[in-house]
């Protein structure tokens, strides 16, 4: 049996940052990863002469206005900064709604964004500005919450008085706040385009969550490393190892071990027991419960897992094309294509080209692919239950191809360009692919759905009460912050610090 101070289960974004934090503080840390690569979704794969990235090639919160908790700062604290590249436009949104269609390019930076939306919907500027302005109060409140003496324990009176707008956005949906501010419908449709990145339509999405995402994107711009996200992950591994940490691949944790009192004491991987003072799970609570003596876990913890809905997953199509983007007429880094102006309808028609995103990395990184070639990346939202349960292994290949074919065709028709004849490499991932690599139920990418009662506000407020298993900590998309690379990094950072603090408190 091996003894460590800290064992991290899963080398996803959160796990890598949490483990590096504890290793940097001098604690003997082991990361156990089921796959043979680090990073979870932050990785890459090769087909022919193309290196594809399984997830969207962008970080939205390299740094936030508060500079308190940012990916940039996290990497810098480990002396593991990666050169990052930026794209100046946020997105092009093409809405094919019969009455209220549009084709707009929205630029990053708040002033540019306001200019662009005013041009598309004259007269909306002030109301949109008021909406975006709410982020200042939100950021202030988040700094208050994260730095408060009592950690995440909130004083509701301070929040209500000093951070009233935060309290409003925290408890209302995006659309409720937008409507209260009098933002016209068309402007709402344009600015709500990013809902898919959070997997919840804006009539059910916490305003706070959405404003944070949108303003982070605006201020920082879509950001990406040159060598796909594999570069970010290997860089973190290097920092981790530099602090004396040990990482083991092909080492899936199959069992979590607890003592009589329900304290986490260790794990089992490849049939071997590992013990530690603290265990950090980067894997989803459902999988922890499945690999534990469930009776030893608090009732509330089990109930919570059963009460929650899994969040979004995707069908993604990776294309390597044997023409440049200029030759093909691909002008944009991100294009969002929708059929209806209303995010709710977009969500409901997701299986029928109602909402999808197409990215061309070459727009941001011209030499991301070999000379004379380019790449396109389709992101098509899939929700748990969307996957047909009668699909046989025999039908699977054609199932993937028919989805890819439908979306490629819709994209070609919408943009009036041709890409299919130029496909040199193609790879199609589905919820089955994500289930295989991530091992999450339904192939959920970010854990749980952040809509309605399980929004980020409720998660954050209730975290101390819901996640109170002694010596067991959590980080990752399934944790408090929901979707995206930064939330993995940031929750990893918070958890790593908390573990260090607790170990010190316990005199270890």
């Amino acid at each position: 049996m091996k003894e460590y101070d800290v064992i991290v289960v899963g080398a996803g974004n959160g796990g890598l940052v949490a483990g590096t934090t504890t290793a940097q503080a001098g604690y003997k840390t082991l990361i156990l990863e089921k796959h043979n690569l680090p990073g979870g979704c932050a990785t890459s794969f090769i087909r022919g002469r193309f290196e594809f990235e399984p997830s969207l090639h962008e970080l939205c919160a390299e740094s936030t206005s508060s500079e308190l908790e940012s990916t940039k700062k996290i990497f810098a604290d480990f002396d593991a900064s990666v050169e990052l590249f930026h794209e100046d436009t946020l997105y092009r949104a093409i809405c094919k709604d019969k009455e209220m269609g549009y084709d707009v390019v929205m630029r990053a930076d708040i002033e540019n964004f306001l200019d662009d939306i005013e041009a598309a919907v004259p007269g909306c500027r002030a109301s949109v500005a008021a909406f975006l302005n709410l982020c200042r109060n939100i950021d202030g409140a988040q700094v208050y919450m994260a730095t408060g003496k009592n950690g995440m324990k909130l004083n509701p009176f301070v929040l209500m008085n000093k951070y009233g707008d935060f309290m409003r956005t925290a408890s209302h949906t995006t659309e409720e706040v937008e409507i209260a501010l009098g933002i016209p419908e068309k402007a709402r449709s344009i600015m709500n385009t990013y809902w898919g990145y959070l997997g919840v339509p804006t009539d059910d999405l916490s305003a706070l969550h959405f404003i944070s995402l949108l303003t982070a994107y605006m201020q920082v711009r879509p950001t990406m490393p040159y060598k796909r996200s594999h570069e970010l992950s290997l860089n973190l591994v290097k920092a981790f190892q530099g602090f004396g940490g040990e990482i083991r691949y092909n080492s899936e944790v199959t069992r979590f071990l607890f003592d009589e009192k329900g304290k986490a004491i260790g794990v089992v991987a490849n049939g071997e027991e590992y013990h530690a003072k603290k265990i950090i799970s980067n894997i989803i609570p459902n999988n922890v419960i499945n690999r534990s003596d469930a009776k030893k876990l608090p009732k509330r913890f089990r109930k919570l897992a059963n009460a929650r809905k899994f969040g979004m997953t995707f069908v993604t199509v990776y294309l390597g094309l044997d023409r440049t983007r200029e030759e093909l007429g691909i002008d944009d880094y991100s294009v969002f294509i929708t059929r209806d102006k209303d995010p709710r309808v977009q969500f409901e028609t997701r299986k029928d080209c109602g909402y999808y995103v197409v990215n061309c990395l070459n727009k941001a990184l011209p030499d991301a692919t070999p000379k004379g070639t380019s790449t396109l990346f389709f992101t098509i939202p899939f929700m748990p239950g969307d996957f047909p349960e009668d699909l046989t292994p025999r039908q699977y290949k054609e199932f993937k191809n028919s989805i890819a074919e439908k979306y490629i065709k819709d994209y070609e028709e919408t943009l009036g360009i041709s890409v299919r004849p130029y496909i040199e490499e193609i790879s199609i991932a589905t919820p089955v692919t994500f289930a295989r690599y991530l091992g999450t139920p339904e192939g959920a990418i970010y854990g749980y759905d952040t809509g309605n009662w399980d929004n980020v506000v409720g998660r954050t407020a209730m975290e101390p009460m819901e996640f109170n298993i002694p010596n067991l900590y959590f980080c990752g998309g399934h944790s408090t912050m929901g979707d995206g690379f930064p939330s993995g990094y940031i929750t990893g950072d918070r958890t790593g610090r908390k573990v260090v603090k607790d170990l010190r408190k316990e005199g270890k």
């Binding site: 499945n290 059963n306 506000v457």
Partner: protein, 401 residues
């Protein structure tokens, strides 16, 4: 539309969020969470990509002492109830235990995907000069023996959104196996393409599966077989080698995709011929190149091929030092030392042997350097295609249990 309109919204809603959450969680069941395999995408993922497959040798058909077809059936006693579906052109990495050491080799599946529903995979294995594994299999494997194989792997498969409607298959020797699978898959309706198979053999007698594929082509208009014989003339066959002229003669009008599988010498010849045709790179696909030998024949090789080095290997925290010759890949050295490292394609492509180079200098032939950009920057290698130029230390993931 004044900014104050936000004030219409209550500040106390947070209480509601928490109450609702408490109520939702309170009402939920406290049963253990549902098993992963109860979710359909996870169940399908496990069926398509099992971590390993336990099989039993059901039948062995001998073409000659140097070439046999092996039929694998599932081995439910060891936990495999059915065989994973695959795409024609994929391979299995088989594990062979020889004197207590585990060796792995990739073999294309020669049976069709639909044959998995009939309960078998068929591989055709040819003796390779100096190949200890093929030798061992041909001399020792008997019906009833238990074998561990991987899930189906590889991307040497037809993709209808990428490839032309017609595939010109260029097969040499035992490179016929993926094309037998593809022909049968076409005849069974599992692949939508047409296949024109240019099959190079020395004599017609050497052209295994030729009769069988000819039979398939009589029943299915989408399959055409052309035997190309180098050492004899026979009626209805082409003689000589597979040249640009020959490809043109049998190619359809418009686009076609060339798929090649055969020995390195065939690729060297065929690649030059194909170049004359001026077809786009996307229409030319090679099967895995296989084990790499003779790095010293490359101009950029800087080592001394006679050198012998020490290779220090750490697997799951255990460190061993073993010999590794300059002419041997790190993977082969580890296998010879009985370390059972992970490997599947053995051609630098699949990434399963991905390992960290801790110290020392290595040579990686450019043609098989399938590493990611960041791997190169941070010192990760594929031992299957890496040769030592000095003493080395590497960290290798264990084979998962």
């Amino acid at each position: 539309m004044s900014k104050s309109s936000i004030k219409k919204l209550a500040r106390t809603g947070l209480v509601g969020v928490i109450t609702k959450r408490l109520s939702k969680v309170g009402k939920a069941s406290d049963a253990p969470a549902k098993d992963l395999l109860d979710y359909y995408p996870n169940k399908l993922a496990a069926a398509l990509h099992p971590k390993a497959q336990q099989v039993i040798i059901k039948e062995i058909k001998e073409f000659s002492p140097d070439m046999k077809s092996i039929y694998f059936a599932p081995n439910p006693a060891k936990g495999t109830d059915s065989l994973a579906w695959f795409s024609a052109g994929q391979y299995l990495s088989i594990s062979v235990d020889i004197e207590g050491k585990t060796f792995k080799r990739p073999y294309s599946i020669a049976s069709s995907p639909a044959d998995t529903l009939n309960g078998f995979y068929m591989l055709t294995i040819k003796r390779v000069g100096g190949g200890i594994v093929s030798q061992y299999i041909l001399d020792n494997w008997k019906e009833g023996m238990e074998v561990t194989v991987s899930a189906p792997l590889g991307d040497f498969s037809y993709e209808r959104l990428r490839d032309a409607n017609t595939v010109i298959g260029i097969a040499g020797g035992s490179g016929i196996t993926p094309f037998r699978s593809l022909a049968k898959a076409i005849s069974e309706g599992d692949e939508p393409c047409s296949l024109v198979l240019l099959y190079g053999s020395r004599t017609l007698k050497d052209a295994v599966f030729s009769d069988e594929i000819e039979e398939m082509s009589k029943k299915c208009g989408k399959i055409k077989l052309v035997n190309v014989l180098s050492d004899e003339k026979a009626e209805g066959c082409e003689s000589g080698f597979i040249t640009a002229g020959l490809i043109k003669k049998y190619a359809p009008e418009g686009d076609y995709s060339i798929f090649m599988c055969g020995p390195q010498a065939m690729y060297n010849f065929a690649d030059k011929e194909i170049e004359k045709l001026g077809i786009r790179r996307k229409f030319v696909r090679h099967e895995l190149f296989g084990e790499y030998f003779h790095p010293e024949r490359n101009e950029d090789y800087t080592g001394n091929i006679e050198d012998r080095f020490n290779l220090t290997v750490t697997i799951a925290g255990k460190t061993t030092t073993i010999p590794c010759d300059a002419n041997t890949t790190l993977l082969r050295a580890m296998e010879a030392a009985g370390l059972n490292p992970p490997s599947d394609c053995r051609s630098g492509r699949c990434g399963w042997c991905h390992s960290q180079l801790l110290s020392g200098k290595v040579y990686i032939p450019a043609s098989v350097d399938g590493r990611r950009l960041a791997d190169k920057e941070f010192g990760y290698i594929h031992p299957c295609c890496t040769f030592p130029l000095s003493d080395l230390a590497i960290d290798v993931p264990p084979m998962p249990q």
